[in-house]
């Protein structure tokens, strides 16, 4: 049986010519290989080079920042996050940059978070513990935090994350490199990469797709989402956009809002944050459904005006938007087109096509993983640990995440399910739905 398949496959490979190869693997060649490998790699080199050339400028910006020594307000909104706060605060006390104030916002927790928060406040470990007795959702909690902030910069953190010693320093420097920067995203990595297969694969995804992807989009000026786990903003810019809008997906939303009023958004690879990724594929699916739905909701529904040539129109915003839509929505549709194309036209070769695709992707993933390690800052995990998991990435990216994404798009495009997400209190979702936000 296996011999027969192998035999068959070898004969298939021998029969392949260039035209035939392009016809059978157009999806891989045009979308994955060119866009997500060749172009990405070229941009990475440009980024590397300009970083090297601008190293004096960077050092000057750093000196300016440290000399000015501005107050940085750190806001940590969340519900029932008391158990995580201690670890987080410990990593904040270790920061190289110390002119910080830490404000924890408890969004109507029903566990012992209030007690823990008040204790930490009394002990002077956090500057303020603010509690909303009634839950209002993540956006309102973050906005409440803004009310108590005094800093020139606002750093938004998630309670279940922890931060490198120089993370705060590193995430603020870009504001001094370019005065037009309104927000900076930090580099999120997976802390619990050893916990399960799901977390290991996510760790690889964060290394290659998310982190490197953000380096590239940031270099191209089309960086989309400042992660809620680690993002820094100019306080005056947040004031102008009147804080966060109702989520889910508020991280991407506020980024678009800041772009719209003319500020730049940057990604800082060196500002590292460790997060706990969802430990099972089921939990992961839930998280990704939420993220993917917010693409539809915020990009297409709420902020479609960036496509229109009006006075707030900006070419980079337009590109950012198109890039985002292409990568996520169109690509997703195209993949189904490709799959149908193959099934209809090359039914007899389908097994061989699948095997070839698998090999192409896996080889690419290996090459990317090894090649990109040059561009990665460093990792909290030994790279060799991940090598044997690389083959799984084809399934993870090609099937698992793709299916989740498809489900999310269908749910949101046709049923607007994000408004029913228990992630927000119902009272706020109702209003968002009615207003088409």
């Amino acid at each position: 049986m296996i011999e027969e398949i192998l035999d068959n496959y070898l004969r298939f490979l021998q029969s392949l010519n260039v035209g035939h190869f392009v016809r059978l693997f157009w999806f891989y060649i045009f979308f994955e290989f060119i866009r997500y490998f060749v172009i990405e790699w070229i941009v990475l080199n440009i980024w590397r080079l300009s970083k090297y050339l601008n190293r004096d400028k960077y050092e000057k910006a750093r000196q300016e920042f440290l000399f000015e020594n501005p107050l940085v307000s750190i806001i940590i909104p969340g519900k029932n996050e008391g158990k995580h706060i201690y670890k987080l605060i410990r990593s904040l006390k270790e920061q190289t940059y110390q002119n910080i104030e830490v404000i924890v916002i408890d969004d109507g927790s029903d566990d012992d978070t209030p007690t823990i928060g008040r204790d930490l406040e009394k002990a002077g470990w956090i500057d303020q513990f603010v509690r909303n007795e009634i839950r209002g959702g993540k956006a309102s909690a973050a906005n409440t935090g803004l009310r108590f902030c005094k800093g020139k910069f606002i750093v938004h953190l998630d309670a279940d994350c922890s931060y490198d010693r120089d993370a705060i320093e590193k995430i603020i420097i870009p504001f001094y490199l370019d005065k037009q920067v309104g927000g900076v995203g930090g580099n999120v990595m997976v802390r619990n990469y050893k916990q399960s297969l799901a977390t290991t694969l996510q760790a690889i995804e964060y290394f290659d797709t998310i982190s490197i992807g953000r380096v590239v989009t940031s270099k191209l000026g089309v960086y989309r989402i400042i992660s809620g786990a680690f993002g820094a903003f100019r306080a005056d810019v947040l004031e102008k956009v009147k804080g966060w809008d109702i989520g889910p997906g508020l991280d991407g939303d506020i980024t678009v809002k800041i772009r719209k009023i003319g500020y730049k958004i940057k990604f800082e690879q060196d500002a590292i944050c460790l997060t706990n990724a969802p430990g099972t594929f089921k939990k992961l699916a839930k998280q990704r459904l939420r993220w993917d739905k917010s693409l539809i909701r915020f990009r297409i529904r709420k902020h479609h005006d960036v496509l229109l040539p009006n006075q707030s129109f900006k070419f980079s915003n337009f590109i950012s938007f198109v890039e985002n839509i292409t990568y996520n929505l169109v690509l997703n549709v195209k993949w189904y087109v490709y799959l149908s194309d193959m099934i209809i036209n090359y039914r007899s070769l389908i097994l061989n096509i699948l095997i070839t695709n698998f090999l192409l992707y896996t080889i690419t993933n290996f090459v990317k993983f090894v090649l990109y390690s040059v561009y990665r800052k460093r990792s909290h995990a030994p790279m060799s640990y991940f090598l044997i998991y690389i083959p799984c990435m084809v399934i993870y990216f090609g099937y698992y995440l793709r299916i989740v994404r498809s489900v999310a798009y269908v749910q949101e495009l046709f049923f607007k399910l994000s408004y029913n997400d228990p992630w927000n209190p119902k009272k706020t979702s109702q209003h968002a739905k009615r207003m088409g936000l």
């Binding site: 509690r131 007795e133 209002g136 804080g243």
Partner: protein
């Protein structure tokens, strides 16, 4: 019937006799010498002015001599007096002097009880205080020492018979003394209440305020925070008001606020400090001491337990036999002799003078504010202080002269074979040195001294000498 009416004999303006007892009537401050109480069996205070009564009672009960502080005190026409402090320290009231015969039993009883007591005259201040309390409790046949809530007490509670010995600012040391007594087994205690005292000066006169956690100012403004559901805006109510009408409009999405719980709510409050601009949700509670002005976190206050004390059997025996502490008494101070020894030596010196011509003197130095010294220094430092004082005196008198403590605040010494004039001069020099010493060692507190010298007179007994000497010092 007429003959049976007991006789009340008016001896003078201020003395009446009844049933063989002599009553001292006190109705004004003029010409009042509290020491006179010693020569009567009881005191009657005119009760028309509560403040007057309080002061007189205080002066009698605060006196160091048991012949004075244990005397029965009655109030004449005191029906309107409600001060619990006065009530605790007096033994009864009467409406007119005609009622004096009714006091016979009580006066008799207190006299008998007092006569059963022995006094040790310890030189430890705590021991003196404890002895005083238990003797007073014994004579008034009151086994319970109860704290009374008292507005004039700095610690908010008063144990009258102890409190009279202290100025308001020093009253907190009563609690320490009672603790010592309890450890000695004199009292059993029962929880009554807790008080919080200033960490700086131990006063309980505190004003509690909600203050800014950053700068401790109590000047702040409080606003509701509004969360507008449709747009997620969160801000103080001021952000939502407009100048035209009373409606609230969202500054982010311009929508009008309609119905709490439906399109907006008020999840918390925002306090803004008017002094430093700090924004916060939770106040600190600070207590400002009204005595010394210290502003402190409520957590920094000294927490003290107020207890109700009951005299034990051991306590009662200590009252009868004289109280000797096991731990806190001041042992013999080098350079001084026991008071009994001093009296014996005095007797011999008087005998000697009877046979030879010459001039000898007996002197006393008294610390005028011993309870203040005690409450601010504690007994250990106080003992060091006494040692220092003896050293100074010793180095200024001849080696044949002797020094002794009558009690913890009164030092007696002999100055033999010199004219009284010279003795006075030496004594005033000693005081100068002592004052300078105190100034340099105890910067925050002034120790006041009082001195007196009398020449020995072989016509008088040693007791009479000492009586004259100390009477002059009061």
């Amino acid at each position: 019937m007429e003959e049976k009416k007991p006789e009340i004999e008016q001896i003078s303006d201020s003395v009446v006799k009844s049933d063989g007892f002599s009553y001292l009537i006190i109705d004004r401050f003029d010409g009042l010498v509290v020491e006179d109480v010693e020569f009567h069996d009881a005191v009657i205070i005119d009760g028309r002015d509560e403040a007057f009564v309080r002061q007189i009672v205080r002066r009698i009960r605060a006196h160091k001599k048991h012949d004075i502080y244990l005397k029965p005190v009655y109030i004449l026409r005191g029906a309107t007096i409600t001060d619990p402090f006065i009530q605790k320290l007096t033994d009864g009231t009467l409406y007119s002097l005609d009622q004096l015969p009714f006091l016979k039993d009580e006066t008799e009883r207190i006299r008998t009880r007092s006569s059963e007591l022995k006094f040790t005259e310890s030189i430890s201040f705590e021991a003196q205080m404890i002895e005083k309390v238990i003797c007073f409790m014994y004579t008034s046949e009151d086994r319970v020492l109860e704290p009374i809530p008292y507005v004039y007490a700095d610690i908010n509670y008063s144990y009258p018979i102890l409190s009279v010995n202290f100025s308001r600012h020093d009253e907190h040391s009563i609690l320490d003394i009672l603790e010592i007594a309890e450890k000695e087994g004199i009292f059993e205690s029962e929880f009554h209440d807790k008080v919080y005292l200033c960490g700086n000066c131990n006063s309980g006169r505190l004003s509690y305020r909600e203050v800014c956690p950053k700068c401790s100012s109590s000047n702040s403004k409080t606003q509701d925070i509004i969360h507008h559901f449709p747009c997620g805006y969160v801000g103080p109510i001021d952000d939502f008001t407009n100048e035209i009408d009373d409606e609230l409009d969202c500054p982010k999405c311009n929508k009008r606020l309609r119905h709490i719980g439906v399109d907006y709510d008020k999840p918390s409050v925002l306090h803004t400090c008017n002094n430093c601009g700090h924004k916060f949700q939770d106040y600190n509670v600070n207590a400002k001491c009204m005595s010394c002005g210290q502003d402190q976190r409520a957590e920094q206050l000294a927490e003290r337990t107020i207890k109700k004390y009951t005299l034990t059997k051991k306590g009662e025996m200590a009252a009868i036999n004289g109280f000797v502490t096991t731990a806190k008494d001041i042992e013999e101070i080098i350079g001084s002799v026991k008071y009994e020894t001093f009296k014996t030596m005095l007797k011999y010196e008087i005998e000697r003078l009877r046979q030879t011509e010459g001039s000898s003197n007996v002197c006393a130095i008294k610390i005028d504010n011993p309870s203040q010294v005690y409450s601010q220094l504690g007994s250990d430092v106080q003992k060091d202080l006494l040692i220092e004082i003896v050293k100074v005196i010793r180095s200024n008198i001849r080696s044949s002269d002797i020094i002794s403590f009558q009690n913890s605040s009164t030092i007696v010494l002999s100055m033999n074979e010199i004219p009284t004039r010279i003795a006075k001069k030496i004594l005033s020099e000693i005081i100068d040195i002592l004052k300078r010493l105190m100034e340099t060692t105890l910067k925050s507190m002034e120790v006041q001294f009082h001195t007196h010298v009398i020449p020995l007179d072989y016509g008088m007994s040693p007791e009479m000498h000492i009586h004259q000497l100390t009477k002059e010092l009061e």
